[in-house]
């Protein structure tokens, strides 16, 4: 594979695209397929054939507004249709090049689409994730080729470091620093792992990236492999994402055939292979040391760090482990430069962040916004506010390790530091909006139940502490708790937070702590209610 070959594929693909006057993009991701987008695509293909129009129907990745699916986009005019059914196919094809079908039209001139900045999702909704040619036609694998043929591994790392990219898995560790550490760690072999064990309730960013643009991950991982000196990569993806797994398998096969993955990539001496490992449904396997244990075939339990995987990882070798979204940022950074990337975002948090916007919000779906945007803009402008005239109450970020952010902090910029400061956590990008009907004690109980059932059971504070805290929260929601119970809950939060072995236990008290911080009155109301009931019974 040489640059000319890539160019040839790219030219052929573009020439093929030019043959068609109209391009109809149908979302073929899990959410839209669940509302029959596969049938819509079939119907559109048949309708186009019947009508004899110069039109190409293409399955693409997520276009963002999942709540309005199945989504169909018509290029070049950019008309977006929502809630399309197979029965609408003929009408849509008929109206191609004419005025759009107004009853299905989805206004794209709204903040939901306008305020987003697409870096990670640049190809999502544009390319067919099952065809490598489509990816190549959008300059795919060019960054890899350039890195392999014109840059040294340390130059690649320097560029990633200069971009200011921080890990998108949640904690925000500097990606460049992590790569440097792995590159400098001595070892006969090294490994690159992509953590695709996305498990936070309400989060589906990584799934969308994998389903919509799998080659971006492969390319990012291969560049990482070159930079740190690894020749083997693993994508650890949860088995609950069958479509993502399928598309990754197709992508790996195609990339190997093209010579951009496997032995002697792009005609160089660099070889890199990627294999898929499936998670078996344990949330804790998203924790890096548990994930590594799981790949090794052992029980998915974390071990104390240090040593960090960068030094002592998979089978004891230096291992680079990054999240899906982190790898997805690599290709744009290599292609457009570190300065371009670091110009986006805030001083300490560069680039964009993908969020899965869910809950009591008008526009549910996938968004990518620059770091530093305020929560208010996300909830009320992009998200379209709270439906049915209800009042906003809180937004939950960071999954089960995160916290609930009330109205008063909505003007906070979204970046790693600010969210920590207000008792939440960036996390991987789940964002659950709650309206006034949500009770925060119930919310805390829900997340505690999640942590309790997902605790691996290795360390005492997490294993027993989460179960005890869950029981106390259960008592609170049943109006049976006393002030002493609340004090005990707070004491346990402190112990579990500071003595647990891994991030799951250390983060488990956060939903309780943040709701206690901002909605303490709701806890007290439950206790008061309990007192009333007790008084009534003794009377």
């Amino acid at each position: 594979m040489m640059i000319e070959d890539l160019q040839k594929i790219s030219d052929a693909e573009r020439a093929e695209a030019q043959k068609y006057e109209h391009h109809v993009h149908v979302c073929m991701e899990t959410a839209c397929i669940a509302s029959r987008s596969d049938q819509v695509k079939q119907a559109l293909t048949e309708a186009a054939e019947r009508a004899g129009k110069p039109c190409r129907v293409k399955g693409v990745g997520c276009m963002g507004l999942c709540s309005a699916g199945p989504l169909v986009k018509v290029e070049p005019d950019g008309t977006m249709y929502k809630g399309v059914t197979p029965e609408d196919a003929d009408e849509i094809v008929q109206k191609l090049g004419d005025s759009p079908v107004s009853r299905l039209e989805c206004d794209t001139n709204v903040p939901f689409f306008q305020r987003q900045v697409k870096i990670v999702l640049e190809n999502s909704g544009e390319i067919d994730p099952e065809r490598i040619e489509d990816y190549v036609a959008r300059d795919g694998y060019l960054a890899l080729y350039t890195a392999l043929t014109t840059m040294t591994p340390s130059e690649v790392i320097a560029q990633v470091a200069k971009s200011g990219l921080r890990g998108r898995g949640g904690a925000g560790f500097s990606t460049g620093l992590k790569w440097t550490t792995v590159a400098k760690s001595p070892g006969e072999r090294k490994f690159v792992i992509c953590n695709a064990d996305e498990g936070d309730p309400g989060a589906f960013m990584d799934r969308s990236v994998l389903e919509g643009d799998p080659h971006a991950i492969l390319e990012g991982m291969t560049i990482a492999g070159y930079a740190v000196g690894a020749s083997q990569g693993y994508i650890y993806v949860r088995a609950e994402y069958p479509l993502a797994v399928e598309r990754l398998k197709i992508a790996i096969r195609q990339a190997k055939r093209l010579g951009v993955l496997g032995e002697n990539i792009c005609g160089t001496t660099f070889s890199f292979n990627v294999d898929i490992r499936l998670g078996a449904g344990a949330f804790v396997c998203g924790e890096e040391t548990a994930l590594i244990a799981s790949i090794e075939g052992r029980m998915g339990q974390p071990r104390p760090r240090p040593p960090y995987p960068a030094e002592h990882g998979l089978w004891g070798y230096p291992t680079l482990i990054n999240n899906v979204e982190s790898y997805a940022n690599i290709v744009p950074i290599m292609r457009k430069g570190a300065d371009w990337f670091s110009a986006i975002g805030t001083e300490k948090s560069k680039g964009t962040k993908v969020f899965a916007l869910t809950g009591c919000i008008e526009n549910t779906g996938l968004i990518e916004v620059p770091m530093g945007i305020s929560l208010r803009e996300i909830v009320f402008d992009i998200g379209g506010g709270i439906p049915d005239g209800k009042k906003f109450k809180a937004v939950q970020t960071g999954g089960p390790s995160g916290g609930c952010i009330p109205e008063e902090h909505l003007d906070m910029p979204v970046d790693f530091e600010s969210l920590l400061q207000i008792g939440s956590f960036m996390g991987s990008g789940g964002m659950i909006v709650m309206d006034e009907t949500s009770n925060m004690v119930d919310v805390a109980k829900y997340f505690m139940e999640f942590c309790m059932t997902e605790s691996c059971g290795k360390c005492v504070p997490c294993r027993v502490g989460t179960a005890q805290m869950y029981d106390l929260l259960d008592k609170l929601t049943k109006n049976e708790a006393t002030m002493a119970d609340l004090q005990l809950l707070e004491r346990l939060c402190d112990v579990v937070k500071y003595t647990s072995l891994c991030g799951l236990g250390q983060g488990a008290p956060n939903p309780v702590l943040s709701t206690l911080r901002y909605f303490r009155h709701e806890y007290l109301a439950r206790i008061q209610e309990a007192n009333h009931e007790a008084a009534f019974l003794t009377d």
Partner: protein, 241 residues
């Protein structure tokens, strides 16, 4: 396992200046110098587990508490092993352990010979302020000589490790997750039907509580024989790390 080439580090533990090989843990160095750090899952000669969290210590300049059993010494480190905060955390962790199972010393074969019991006494855990969970757990008395009472198990995994690492049988394992986790023999078969168990009894003797015991022992009669442990350590030292 102290390699002759390993470098020497100096550090402070509870204000006391100590010297150590770089491949020693804070726990090892503390013990050498007569400084007590409580432990439950740790057992010299077995691989570290890091699960009981009782050996957590404070290290100056580091935000997090670190488990002494897996934290290696570093030059200039300043370790605090017994602050008020650590004492409180340790007592709460013990309370959590007591609340989790059914630990009734007065009827236990290991009464008076129990690591959990003596640690509770030593750390001043006089009562349990978290609600007892009173789980219904099974007892496996199918083995000819030994028995397992899961009600007294604290999931330290000493049995799992000694069986795997020293005896080489790997009869024991942990099944389930979180509060449901429990130890099993073979693939959750009765102990007496285990095809891998060599009946060596190492698991019984390393068990810190009365969860694993010899049949025929009455209350307070199950003294654990750990005399063979120095040999275990020796055996491990001959292995490469």
């Amino acid at each position: 396992m102290k390699q002759p080439s390993s470098r020497i580090k100096t550090l402070k533990i509870d204000g006391q200046d100590v010297g150590a090989h770089e491949d020693e843990t804070v726990l090892e160095v503390a013990r050498e110098n007569g400084i007590f750090i409580p432990t439950l899952c740790e057992l010299e000669g077995l691989s570290p587990h890091g699960g009981c969290r009782l050996c957590l210590v404070e290290v100056k300049g580091i935000n997090k508490l670190l488990p002494a059993c897996v934290t290696y010494v570093e030059e200039g480190m300043e370790v605090t092993t017994n602050s008020t905060r650590l004492q409180e955390y340790r007592r709460t962790i013990l309370e959590l352990i007591f609340s989790e199972g059914n630990h009734i010393c007065s009827v236990c074969v290991a009464n008076g010979h129990c690591d959990l019991q003596s640690l509770a006494q030593k750390l001043g855990m006089y009562h349990v302020s978290v609600p007892y969970r009173h789980p219904r757990r099974s007892v496996d008395a199918s083995h000819e000589r030994f028995a397992l009472d899961r009600n007294r198990c604290i999931l330290c995994t000493r049995c799992v490790r000694v069986c795997d690492e020293i005896e080489g049988a790997h009869t024991w394992d942990v099944s389930g997750r979180g509060i449901e986790a429990h130890i099993v023999t073979d693939l959750n078969q009765p102990w007496g039907e285990s095809e891998t168990c060599t009946s060596c009894g190492k698991c019984v003797n390393v068990c810190p509580t009365g969860a694993l015991f010899e049949k025929g022992k009455a209350v307070a009669e199950m003294a654990k024989k750990r005399g063979f442990l120095p040999y275990l350590t020796l055996m491990r030292e001959k292995r490469t790390r």
